[in-house]
């Protein structure tokens, strides 16, 4: 168990973190996710951290990094299901993850990604006209 599974879900990738994150796992996830975004041509990344109850500054920075990398690769990152205690910790650590989009649960996160995809498709259609 040295990898966190990354699921393909339509145009989006779905990552559910269900184990305690240690630094190596975080680095591996960052790399895997980057290559999967390219290979699957994904437009959105959804990271569910509802099972995570300890987050340190390293994990916080990893989330920020993933968001930055996927933005370069034209994919949106949405972090969902953060627990109140985790949110308070991150804020106290000074990591407000300004580059990351957030949603309360997977359902809303998916809706956010779909909205964005629908919007960009509409833009594409406009361009073609």
């Amino acid at each position: 168990m040295d990898r966190i599974p990354i699921l393909k879900f339509g145009n989006a990738l779905l990552v559910t973190i269900q184990v305690d994150m240690h630094d190596q796992l975080a680095t591996a996830l960052e790399e895997d996710l980057t290559s999967k975004i390219v290979s699957h041509n994904a437009r959105g990344v959804l990271i569910d951290i509802s099972a995570l109850d300890v987050v340190d500054s390293f994990i916080g920075r990893m989330l920020d990094n993933i968001a930055a990398v996927s933005r370069i690769l034209d994919a949106d990152t949405v972090v969902v299901g953060m627990r109140p205690a985790v949110a308070i910790t991150l804020v106290e650590l000074g990591l407000s993850l300004t580059g990351v989009k957030t949603a309360l649960n997977v359902e809303r996160g998916m809706a956010m990604i779909h909205d964005r995809l629908a919007g960009s498709e509409a833009d594409d259609a406009d361009d073609e006209d």
């Binding site: 972090v79 969902v80 953060m82 627990r83 109140p84 985790v86 949110a87 308070i88 957030t102 309360l104």
Partner: protein, 301 residues
């Protein structure tokens, strides 16, 4: 030496108890303790008598060492008295007068005592002064402590009372803040808000600061922290109720809240409704059109 001095004072007290007690009560009355209306003469009498009795016992057993076990009973009584006076709203000097007004009757008794030589009188005066000063300070310390306890309790109650999270609509929460925002309260507010966001699956939280008297850089930082934490949970925050003077102060201080802010809670609520895809429409009143008509009309269609 101390034991000797203690027993000197003790025998003096026991010999002159009959004269010391009324004189003492008289001095306390003269200091105006009864004018405050918080204590009756009977109470004052019995308190003074009890204390004199306990002091006498302590002196006989433990000399003038007030930290010894002999003084426990006397100190316990003083503590009780000072605590109750603190609760009743006595001033510190009124409370301390209880002990310090014992000095003069005691010195008078020493002066009157023919069996003591001048040297003995001087040393007895010194010993009793030291003793009463120590007890007086002890009384004040307890007084102070009980006042602080009251303040701490009130702070806790205020903190509990003033952080409600209100549900305005499906998915829209309001957090009316009242009073000064310090870091401890911010913590409570934040935890409350975030938990309610999870429980109610809220999308938007409106923080209303109408009741916050001043916003300085620290308060603004606390607000921003709360906003950032709510955003991490996936909820948007709006700030409302910034009063004109506060808006001016914030601009002068260079404080910037990088969130949507509205002047009133109503405006913020309207924004929240719009953001969640709702509109408010005025109900149309049509002459002769009742609810029943509408219902049947609907069935027909």
């Amino acid at each position: 030496m101390a034991a000797q001095a203690g027993s000197d004072v003790a025998s003096l007290v026991s010999r002159n108890e009959k004269t010391i007690l009324p004189e003492w009560v008289e001095f306390q009355k003269k200091a105006g303790i009864l004018h405050t209306g918080r204590i009756s003469e009977g109470e004052l009498q019995s308190q003074s008598r009890n204390f004199l009795h306990l002091l006498h016992e302590a002196l006989t057993q433990g000399g003038t060492d007030t930290s010894g076990s002999a003084y426990e009973a006397a100190k316990a009584m003083l503590a009780e008295l000072s605590r109750s006076r603190a609760m009743q709203g006595f001033s510190p000097s009124e409370t301390a007068t209880f002990i310090f007004s014992l000095k003069q009757p005691l010195f008078n008794a020493i002066n009157r005592d023919a069996s003591l030589s001048a040297d003995q009188k001087a040393s007895t005066v010194w010993t009793s002064t030291m003793l009463l000063d120590e007890l007086g300070l002890f009384t004040l310390e307890i007084f102070q402590k009980s006042r602080e306890e009251v303040i701490v309790r009130q702070q806790r109650e205020i903190a509990e009372l003033s952080t409600p999270v209100v549900k305005l609509w499906e998915g829209i929460l309001a957090l009316p803040l009242i009073g000064t925002l310090d870091s401890q309260r911010t913590q409570v507010v934040m935890e409350n808000l975030l938990q309610t966001i999870v429980d109610d699956e809220a999308e938007i939280a409106i923080i209303d600061i109408t009741g916050v008297p001043t916003v300085d850089t620290l308060t603004a930082q606390h607000l921003l922290k709360t906003v950032a934490a709510a955003r991490l949970m996936g909820a948007d925050c709006l700030i409302s109720g910034i009063r004109p003077q506060i808006a001016q102060t914030m601009v002068h201080l260079g404080v910037e809240l990088n969130v949507i802010s509205k002047a009133s809670l109503a405006d913020a609520f309207a924004v929240a409704l719009r953001q969640t895809g709702r509109t408010i429409v005025k109900a149309k009143r049509v002459e002769g059109y009742t609810f029943a008509d509408k219902k049947s009309g609907g069935q027909d269609a």
